[in-house]
């Protein structure tokens, strides 16, 4: 293809130009591949060397706690700061807070808070995340407002990392600020909020959470009530009792059934075993398995005849898990069943428990 095509032929000309451009693009991309390969190897070698120097040094500072090791620390090059933060975060995640006292003094000396704070404004997501996570471990609240603003980020991971940093900095203050954010941000998944609230602890969580649930609309109540197992047991129990007694929302009832833990609510739970929605009946069966008394055995047995498979299955599991239910008693109960579906469910639950 050394000869240029006739310029008069527009199509061929366009194709020729496109082919040349594509060829140039390919060459460029290939160079990119080489460069990235080289850079990755160089970065990896650099990371290994850094880790070999700094990991033992940071561990020594953390274990000693007196600052005596500071002078023996290797020099921290500015371009190694992100590598340092990776190590810094890893050691904080591995140790409990008390064991990290020595590291706080080091963070002041190395101005980790200032440098990590500057990373919040970075355009590169990885750097922003690194700075955000690190700030939670520095113990420096000067970036509080910036972190709080980051909880509104469109990026889910970044917003949750900021929320966790706040919780690590000051759990009480963080929960007061975060509960409204949790209500607002429907995209924050339950599974990611839970560890945050768990880390904050019941003392910080209970007041703001209970107040928010009491004041929220049913949809929000249902969402927030799922976190009640993390709150103080007494306050959570009182709230669940109130909600079960007053709410008309199936969602709220379902959330409460998932967390109800007090025999005082047994009468309500028994009533819900006949709820028109099978999902509620299934949760009622599970709750009866946790809280039920001897008299509930009959109710659970009747639930084995439910039209919905899941209700039958959960009722059977609840029955065989009752504290007084022994293998022979459970077997005898199965033998009394005449409904084939009830018997199937019971057979399965018995087999799962090793009662066959």
């Amino acid at each position: 293809m050394s000869a240029s095509p006739a310029a008069s032929d527009t199509l061929i000309h366009v194709a020729w130009i496109t082919a040349q451009a594509s060829l140039a693009g390919t060459a460029l991309l290939l160079l990119c591949v080489f460069w990235m390969h080289w850079r990755r190897n160089a970065n990896e070698a650099r990371r290994r060397a850094f880790v070999a120097r700094w990991r033992p040094a940071l561990a020594a500072v953390a274990l000693d706690g007196s600052g005596a090791h500071f002078d023996a620390l290797p020099r921290l090059d500015r371009r190694d700061f992100e590598l340092f933060l990776h190590e810094w975060i890893a050691i904080h995640e591995a140790l409990d807070r008390e064991s990290c006292q020595g590291l706080e003094a080091l963070s002041q000396r190395l101005r980790v808070g200032d440098l990590a704070g500057r990373m919040l404004g970075h355009t590169r997501l990885e750097s922003r995340l690194l700075g955000t996570i690190a700030l939670g471990h520095v113990g420096d609240s000067r970036q509080w407002d910036a972190l709080l603003a980051e909880t509104d980020s469109h990026n889910l991971t970044l917003s949750l990392a900021a929320a966790r940093a706040l919780v690590r900095l000051d759990p009480e203050r963080a929960i007061v600020a975060l509960v409204p954010v949790i209500e607002r941000r429907a995209d924050w998944p339950h599974t990611r909020i839970w560890p945050l609230l768990e880390e904050a602890g019941p003392a910080a969580l209970t007041g703001p959470l209970v107040a928010a649930i009491r004041g929220a609309a049913p949809e929000q109540q249902a969402r927030l009530a799922r976190f009640l197992p993390l709150a103080d047991e007494t306050a959570a129990g009182e709230l669940v009792a109130d909600l079960l007694g007053t709410t008309t929302s199936d969602q709220v009832v379902a959330s409460c059934l998932g967390v109800v833990d007090s025999p005082a609510e047994l009468a309500t739970v028994r009533g819900l075993a006949a709820h028109p929605r099978w999902h509620i009946r299934m949760l009622a069966a599970k709750a009866l398995g946790r809280l039920g008394e001897r008299q509930d055995e009959a109710l659970l047995t009747s639930m084995l005849g439910d039209a919905e498979w899941w209700v039958r299955y959960r009722a059977a599991q609840a029955l065989v898990a009752l504290p007084w239910m022994r293998k022979d008693r459970a077997g005898a109960l199965r033998d009394t069943l005449t409904d084939r579906f009830a018997k199937d469910a019971m057979e399965q639950a018995l087999a799962e428990r090793g009662y066959r």
Partner: protein, 469 residues
């Protein structure tokens, strides 16, 4: 209209086809680039406290197995070692003619289990349900032969957990594959399906059901397929996923929300591309309901699978894929240009219809027409070379962009020599392999039009990459 005018018109048509095709690929590249950067950047946040056990979404891993007696024991043992806190394994023996069931009974000490088996999806009759006395999380469903889709449906009926994962019995997962693939479900309750990256295991060494050493295969056919898979996954699926317009999750490794799949009717046993058909149908059903949902691709849970190394098996596979594609689109044709269907209906479906479904015909006819025109003198040699050269260079450009993504992300082939070899094959595939593929796929279209029933056929598996621990 004389022949010269026809040739000129055809040239414009083919050039237009290539321009649009490559413009879409370019757009997918750009979207994939941003998606990958974002995904890799967010991996920094993989620190912090582990999820509380009660928050883990338990997963039912469904493994359809047909005549897998040689490898099923090792495969199941590897699955039992996956790093995930709460999962069960449901192996579905699809009426195997060999000793698959006996092997499972012997190796895992299976005993009949009185399962309250609930028929929510139709399948061939279940003849027995077994549970391991050593691993209580392992159950085996023994059923009459009905094919892969039928087996998965039986597995779904027996699955206890809200999310199920389908994997091929001969695939190899990474230890953290489930943990990575479940992430979209944890992050967004609207996620209904997620698929991971499939890579080719030929040339690698597997021990104890896990990947021990990654390398390129010697056989050129397998290397060509590696280049194809890199393109298909690293910018194909990664490009469609952010638009929520992914039309396929590979049957070799995918996670699904059970209730949504059951509501959609499960896997269709009467199609040959049951994995793609289900995804397209889920789009259609969920869009019709006006429900918010997500079907996504997770770049790094890698599943390794064996690629065919002989032309006969490869040809059959490609014909089957093409027929599966046509069936999937035909059965869900109401999605096409449906404004309610968003990017799936307005972009992905028409793209797959024109460029993936009919593309092979256009490519084969285009190449034949160019050859004819050049030989008959209607086209100058220079023009012929420029047009065919353009097609080749664009193909190489796209493959090279996939290599860039590979360097940006997982760097599965760490040696520069491996990348260079892949580049060499990205060039060589344009001289025969691509054309052969187009012919197979065109034949697939032809067979579909003739209405000949599709069959899976036997896959010749070499398994040279497996070795005993």
């Amino acid at each position: 209209m004389n022949v010269a005018a026809i040739v000129a018109a055809l040239q414009w048509i083919f050039l237009g086809y290539f321009v649009v095709l490559n413009a879409v690929y370019l757009a997918l590249n750009v979207i994939a680039l941003f998606a990958l950067r974002r995904y890799m950047g967010q991996r920094v946040a993989d620190v912090g406290p582990a999820l509380s056990p009660e928050l883990d979404l338990p997963i039912s891993v469904i493994v359809p197995a047909y005549n897998e007696s040689l490898t099923i024991g090792e495969s199941v043992r590897a699955l039992l070692q996956l790093e995930y806190p709460h999962f069960e394994i449901v192996v579905v023996n699809d009426g195997s003619k060999d000793a698959t069931l006996e092997t499972l009974i012997r190796e895992f000490s299976l005993r009949p289990f009185p399962e309250a088996y609930r028929v929510r999806l139709p399948s061939k009759p279940v003849e027995g349900i077994y549970r391991s006395t050593i691993y209580p999380q392992l159950r085996v469903i023994d059923k009459a032969n009905g094919g892969k889709a039928d087996s998965i449906n039986a597995g779904i009926n027996a699955a206890r957990y809200p999310i199920f994962c389908v994997i091929d019995a001969d695939s190899v997962l990474q230890r953290d594959s489930l943990r990575r693939a479940i992430q979209p479900f944890l992050d967004d309750a609207a996620t209904v399906a997620a698929g991971g990256t499939i890579r080719i295991a030929n040339g690698c060494r597997v021990s104890g059901g896990f990947m021990e050493e990654i390398d390129l295969p010697r056989h050129p056919l397998a290397v060509f397929q590696i280049v194809e898979y890199l393109r298909a996954f690293l910018f194909g699926r990664l490009g469609w996923s952010p638009m929520n317009a992914l039309l396929i999750i590979s049957g070799a490794f995918g996670l699904f929300r059970k209730e949504v799949v059951v509501a959609a009717g499960g896997f269709r046993a009467d199609t040959i591309g049951e994995d793609m058909e289900l995804i397209v149908r889920m789009h259609r059903v969920l869009r019709a309901e006006g429900r918010r949902y997500r079907i996504c691709y997770v770049p790094d849970p890698i599943c390794w699978t064996e690629a065919p190394e002989d032309l006969r098996t490869l040809g059959r596979q490609r014909i089957r894929w093409q027929r599966g594609l046509i069936e999937s689109l035909k059965l869900n044709a109401s999605l096409c240009f449906n404004p309610r269907a968003g990017a799936v209906g307005m972009v992905a479906f028409p793209f797959f219809l024109v460029f993936e479904c009919l593309g092979p015909i256009i490519e084969v006819i285009g190449l034949a027409a160019l050859l004819f025109a050049a030989i008959a003198g209607y086209l100058s040699v220079e023009a012929f070379l420029v047009l065919t050269g353009l097609s080749i260079v664009l193909g190489i450009l796209l493959s090279t962009s996939a290599f860039v993504f590979e360097q940006m992300s997982f760097h599965v082939y760490p040696r520069l020599g491996q990348t260079l070899r892949l580049f060499l094959f990205a060039v060589l595939e344009n001289f025969g392999y691509r054309q052969l593929n187009s012919i197979w796929r065109m034949y697939g279209v032809f067979l579909h039009l003739r209405g000949k029933p599709a069959k899976w056929g036997e896959m010749t598996r070499l398994g040279s990459w497996r070795r005993s621990p």
